[in-house]
């Protein structure tokens, strides 16, 4: 394709993950590495009681982001902003609760950008971590890599739970 050849020619000059996103997250070696690292991380997770699943999820996301080698924006966001993002969100929630909600809706009423595409792009940027103020082509690129990584994460975690459950359920 001419487009892919163009992008390949451009990729030499700037960091590009498009040719890698399909192959990197789908290789078996990567899955093996991720699952073993996840097992190690899970061993180190302290068990705070009912909040255990959040801790597990954070550990899984951190390991996933680490295996991205820091080339993608979402992985960097996950690794650096874990705690600070949470605190900022909590603070913002407290401030929002203090302010009357009417003020917020008034400020949002004059919707300049009505196109549905634009609103969907905003929703997508909120879903992908660390991609709020990113241009559309970069956002799509990050989404591609993020989806591939999430699929690998789901596969690995399914495998691990199956493995551990089988280990647990066999004697019963």
């Amino acid at each position: 394709m001419a487009e892919s050849s163009n992008s390949d020619a451009n990729s030499r000059k700037r960091r590009k993950i498009d040719p890698d996103s399909q192959t990197r997250w789908r290789s078996e070696a990567e899955q093996r590495i991720y699952s073993s690292k996840l097992m190690d991380a899970l061993h180190h997770v302290r068990r705070p009681g009912s909040g255990g699943h959040d801790a597990v999820r954070d550990a899984a996301d951190r390991v996933l982001a680490a295996s991205a080698r820091g080339r993608t924006r979402w992985s960097r966001a996950i690794l650096t902003n874990r705690l600070s993002l949470r605190l900022a969100q909590i603070n913002r929630k407290h401030k929002k609760a203090a302010k009357p909600s009417a003020g917020k809706s008034c400020s949002r009423k004059p919707a300049k950008k009505l196109p549905p595409v634009e609103s969907k792009v905003k929703v997508l940027s909120r879903l992908v971590p660390g991609c709020r103020k990113v241009s559309l082509p970069n956002l799509l690129e990050e989404t591609t890599d993020y989806i591939a990584a999430l699929e690998m994460q789901v596969k690995a975690m399914t495998f691990l739970t199956g493995l551990l459950n089988a280990g647990a359920a066999a004697p019963a």
Partner: protein
């Protein structure tokens, strides 16, 4: 003007060989009046003719907009010399004149176009019989327009190349090829480049997300992508909950405090990390769940006792499994 050269030898030789159609002679007179050196119609001195007929070319371009669009012929400038030589040879070869004319035009256009186009050529010619000069020159103007476009594009490319060489590490310019009939302003070119980038990435995403190939339209595809990402994140949440449910048995065994529990007294703590790591690393085939018997026994025996402790959690996790 290059197309004039094809027409000029045609007119000249057809005049010599006794043209059947009077229209050609009419055109021939027009062109002959404009161009001083009719003897030098070799194709080598066409640059001189170019300069002379520049205002004429502008006129032709201005006149011929509509017929130009019926002829999408991307003819490359490098073929002009070939066209000239071919026209020269073909005129000598054939004796008839209307086929002669169409032959030359088809030779010139055969680089890219099928012979089907000959008929519109002829029909155009007959339609515009009142102003045959116009129809004759329409094709020339078409080719000239395309050549101008190519020149524009190539100049843009050259500029872009220099700019990209200058800025080594920054984003290089994207080479955009303006298709026929599209605006070639710098703004529209930049917008088109941006749109092409976005569409390329959307295509990749469509390949990645199942079921997006059939949907057309950016908004729907974005909807699907958002749904897919949300579904994947929910799956990760559920799986982490299940892992957390299974994990207490491992975590409790790992940490020093729970190893002091009574029912774990028979297994020394040092075995456990090794056993589990061996179990996880021996899973060379990714999809098979086959465990080494020694490791399974290591897994199973303490978990057996812990299973009764954690049975509500496990039943909850199995319920989640059903939901999934």
């Amino acid at each position: 003007m290059e197309p004039n050269i094809e027409a000029v030898p045609l007119q000249f030789r057809s005049g010599i060989s006794g043209a059947k159609t009077g229209g050609i002679g009419f055109v021939f007179d027009d062109i002959r009046g404009l161009i001083p050196n009719l003897q030098e119609t070799d194709g080598t001195s066409f640059t001189a003719l170019l300069e002379l007929s520049a205002p004429q070319a502008v006129e032709l371009l201005v006149k011929e907009d509509s017929p130009a669009k019926t002829m999408p012929l991307p003819i490359f400038p490098s073929n002009i010399a070939l066209i000239d030589r071919a026209s020269v040879f073909s005129v000598f070869a054939s004796a008839d004149n209307p086929p002669d004319r169409t032959n030359i035009l088809s030779v010139s256009s055969s680089m890219k176009v099928d012979s089907v186009k000959e008929e519109p050529l002829e029909s155009e010619y007959h339609r515009n019989s009142s102003s045959p000069a116009v129809s004759n020159q329409s094709l020339k103007s078409i080719k000239r327009k395309e050549r101008e476009k190519k020149v524009k594009k190539s100049s843009k490319k050259v500029v872009a190349n220099e700019a990209s060489d200058g800025s080594g590490e920054q984003l290089p310019y994207v080479h955009v090829r303006a298709r026929r009939g599209q605006a070639t302003g710098s703004h529209s070119l930049a917008e088109r480049a941006r749109r092409e980038k976005i569409n390329a990435r959307m295509k990749l995403l469509q390949d990645l997300v199942p079921g997006c190939n059939k949907i057309s339209g950016t908004a729907m595809v974005l909807d699907e992508i958002i749904n897919h990402v949300q579904a994947l994140q929910r799956q990760v949440e559920f799986l982490s909950m299940r892992l957390a449910a299974v994990n207490p048995s491992l975590l409790a065994i790992d940490s020093e405090s729970s190893i002091d529990n009574s029912y774990l007294g028979m297994f020394p703590p040092s075995i456990w990390p090794e056993g589990q790591m061996n179990g996880s690393r021996q899973q060379q085939p990714w999809l098979t769940d086959g465990l080494h018997p020694y490791d399974t026994s290591n897994f199973i025996t303490p978990e057996n006792s812990l299973l009764s402790y954690d049975s509500p959690a496990n039943s909850a996790s199995s319920q989640l499994k059903m939901e999934l």
